[in-house]
Structures are given as C-alpha cells and as structure tokens.
Symmetry: C2
Subunit: 257 residues, 2 copies
C-alpha cells in the first residue's frame, strides 16, 4: 500500500532530467511538494544533491504520484521505454515538451494504459522567467486520467493557485497549430535575423524592440529550436505562406507544392 504517496495533500514528484528546465521546475516545486531527481549524468546528480534534492533511480519511479519528463524531445522515446516497466496503475506522467502532438502520441503508445497522461507546455523558460512564475502561461493538453487520486484538474489547480500561472487547456493538435506561429515561426525569424548581424546603428525604436524579442528567442537552447521547428507538423505550410507574403506584400499567392 502506498498511502502516503497516494495522498492528495502532498504528492511525491519525480523529475526525470535535471537540465535547465528540470532545475527550474525543481526550484519552484520543492517548497510545496516532495521532489526527487532522476538523471544518469553524474554532474547533474551532484548538482541536485548539492541543492538538497533527493536522488532516485528510474526503477523507483513507482514510488511517486507524478513523474515529470523534463528531457529533450529527441530523448523522450528512450526515456519512456526505460520508465514504462516501473510504473504502477494510477500514476500520472507529464511531459513539458514545446510541441505536443508527437509527445502525446509517444506517451499513449509506450506507457501502460492505466497510467494517466498529461501533456504540458510551459510557455516560459529559465531565460524569460528566471524569478517568480506568476503571470506566466502554461498550456495543458490532458490526454487521459489514470485510476489514481492525482487527476489533471488537480495539477491545473496547483499550477493556477500555487504557482500563479495562467493555465490554458487545449488539445495537442490545437496547441501545435497555434505554436507553429507563435513559437516555430518566431524561432525561424530569429535565426534568419541573426544572419544580418551586426545590426546597423541606423534604426528605429520598433527595430530595437523587434531585435530584443528575437534576441530573447535566440538565447533559447539549440534543442528547443530543433524541437519547435522540426517537431511541429503545422510549421512548414506556415513558413511558406510567410515567405510568400514577405516577397509580395498585399497578395498571398497560393502556389502548388
């Protein structure tokens, strides 16, 4: 019996992956929840230990109410395969990838059917919100609830009330459609604009703002660029439409593939 672990009052959380985003989550969750870290990298383990965080092995995953997958998108499949045999009915597994359809499909395919699945996309990172999370946005894509007490609505309530986040609930497909513009295209624009450095001195206030926004995007990890540009099936038609508009403003020419 796992009475304590199943307690709705004080869930136990295992964070898989102690990279930049795993660290950000750990810092914000530990005042409220019991947090342990799982990361095979010795440096990450040492860092987590130095911060007073518990360490756990993936084989202990069944001891937790919630498993947060804070790994890069390309590592997700392997991570899920390593995790799946150790899960028990009623646990909840949550990813934090910047695209949602691909990871949701992977989790549904690899995880046992009695485990709950919640896709999440925190629309902030260590760069854009180094301090308090209040006012930040997080997108939730509930895939399914498990048999346990920890259901996605309770996680939503925690993120809203305790972390002060603005919670947006949608489907993985709808998320990816929106993010193709606001994240995928934004990253492509940042990458393209970076090619024109150094930016000239002759410029307007609007250009300063534009450069500031694109610099913020450019400061994101390279893996994020790969994830949001290659992992979003809605991006390609959108970047082609944008390029056409750029070359012929005022008329959106519909060309064949």
């Amino acid at each position: 019996m796992k009475e304590i672990a199943m307690s709705p009052v004080f869930p136990r959380v295992l964070i898989l992956g102690f990279g930049a985003f795993g660290r950000l989550i750990a810092r914000h969750l530990r005042p409220h929840l019991r947090v342990a870290i799982c990361d095979p990298d010795p440096v990450a383990r040492a860092d987590a230990g130095a911060l007073g965080l518990s360490l756990a092995d993936v084989a202990q995953a069944g001891d937790f109410d919630l498993v947060v997958l804070a790994v890069p998108v390309p590592a997700l499949g392997d991570c899920l395969c390593a995790l799946a045999p150790h899960l028990r009915p009623g646990q909840m597994v949550m990813d934090v990838c910047s695209v949602k359809q691909g990871p949701a499909d992977l989790m549904r395919r690899i995880l046992p059917g009695d485990v709950g699945i919640l896709g999440t996309h925190p629309m902030f990172g260590p760069q854009s919100m180094p301090g308090d999370l209040a006012g930040g946005r997080v997108v939730l894509c509930p895939v399914r609830d498990g048999a346990g007490a920890l259901r996605w609505r309770r996680i939503a309530a925690f993120l809203r009330r305790v972390a002060g986040l603005r919670v947006i609930v949608t489907t993985p497909d709808e998320h990816d459609r929106h993010a193709a513009l606001t994240q995928g295209l934004t990253h492509l624009l940042a990458r393209a604009m970076a090619d024109f450095r150094p930016h000239p001195l002759i410029r307007t206030r609007s250009f300063d703002l534009l450069a500031e926004a694109l610099d913020m995007v450019g400061a994101d990890a390279p893996e994020l660029f790969e994830a949001v540009t290659q992992g979003n099936p809605h991006l390609d038609p959108l970047r082609e439409r944008f390029a056409r508009l750029l070359l012929a403003p005022g008329r959106d020419v519909q060309t064949g593939a």
Copy 2:
C-alpha cells in the same frame, strides 16, 4: 538685405507640408525658431492658424533661412519644382524622407546650385515619440552647403543640443543600405505578420514583444510603408535573402535571379 533672416542666432524656418510629421516638427521648433507653414490644404492651414503658426505661400520661400520639406516621397518632385524658382542663394533645403538616395538625387537635380541641401531622416514619428524627442535618433546626409550662414553642421548642433537628438551622419547610399534592414524589412515583416491575425492565445513572452514591435510599425502611415519598401533600392535582394533563410534555416542558399 535680409539681415534678420540671415542671422545665425534666430533662423526663420518654412515647413512645407503640415501633415502628421510637419506638425511634430512645428511643435518642437516653434519654441526656438520662427516657424511658418506652407500647405495648400485649407484644413491644414486652418489647423496651423489655430495653433498660432504663421502661414506662408511657396512664393515667399525666399524669405526663410531654412525650408523643410515635410511632404510624402511621391510628392517631393512636384514640391521641389514649385519651390525652386522662389529660392535665393545661400538658403538651406532639408527633406525628412525615410529613404535618402532618391530624394537627394531629386534635390540635387531640381534645386538651384547655390542652395544648400541636407537630407535628414528622423528615426521617430508621432507614434513612437509623441512627447519629448530627447534620446531619439536622426540621420543626416549632408549633400552640400550653400553660400549662406546656415550650414549643415549648425543644424546638426541644434538637433543635438536643443532637441536632445542623437545625430548620425552618413551618406544617402549608406543610409539606405542600413534602413533596408531596420526599416524596409521590418515593415515587410509587420505586413506579413498582420496576415496571421488574430494572434493565438498560446504564446511566449518573446512573441508578445515581437507582436508589440510589429504593431508599432503597422501603426505607421501607409505612405511610409510605400516609401520604405518601394523607394529603397537595397530592399529587394535583402527580402529575398531573408525569405530563403526562413525556408532553409542554417544554410543561405545563393540562387540566381
């Protein structure tokens, strides 16, 4: 004799065109200089009169030390032709167009050889700097000084010391090369992004900043869009390079024309 008009202490300024930008200039110059407005539009004349500004006809242009052409780029040629017969040796003529090579060529061609010519591009407008100009940037492209006391360096000193502007001195061609990126391309990006409205709720802080910058550009007058996109000979190769980068980030494919 035009002793007073030629006085280096208190020059007389004629502003041709009382549109949004002419009004902005008039408001900032009148505490320091004697300002008159020339605009054939009865509404503009009434507005200028109501603000206590003197009115003048283009035939009186010879009475001023400095003539500021605050007209849209497409109207510049006609305006110069109407103005030229009334100028006298030693006067200074200054444009405020957002591109510099075309207007500089026009002024050199149409204005008498003994009249000074100064190309200027104030990198701000009624939208971006509705109040104080301090900290704003202005680009000066000195074409030639006339025989009079009012030389371009004196105008530069006034803009720097009295208006608090940051003065950048360059050639018309160099200006247009820089502005192709920071103004022409920025306007094209704003126009393209506007096609994707309404912007989705699912977005990052960087996207908010990006949208804010492009909204600021989009609020500019439509004539400005035409001027900076059609009047800048350096924009076309640049927009094509940007579109290529957008479609294939990481590799700038050199294609033939």
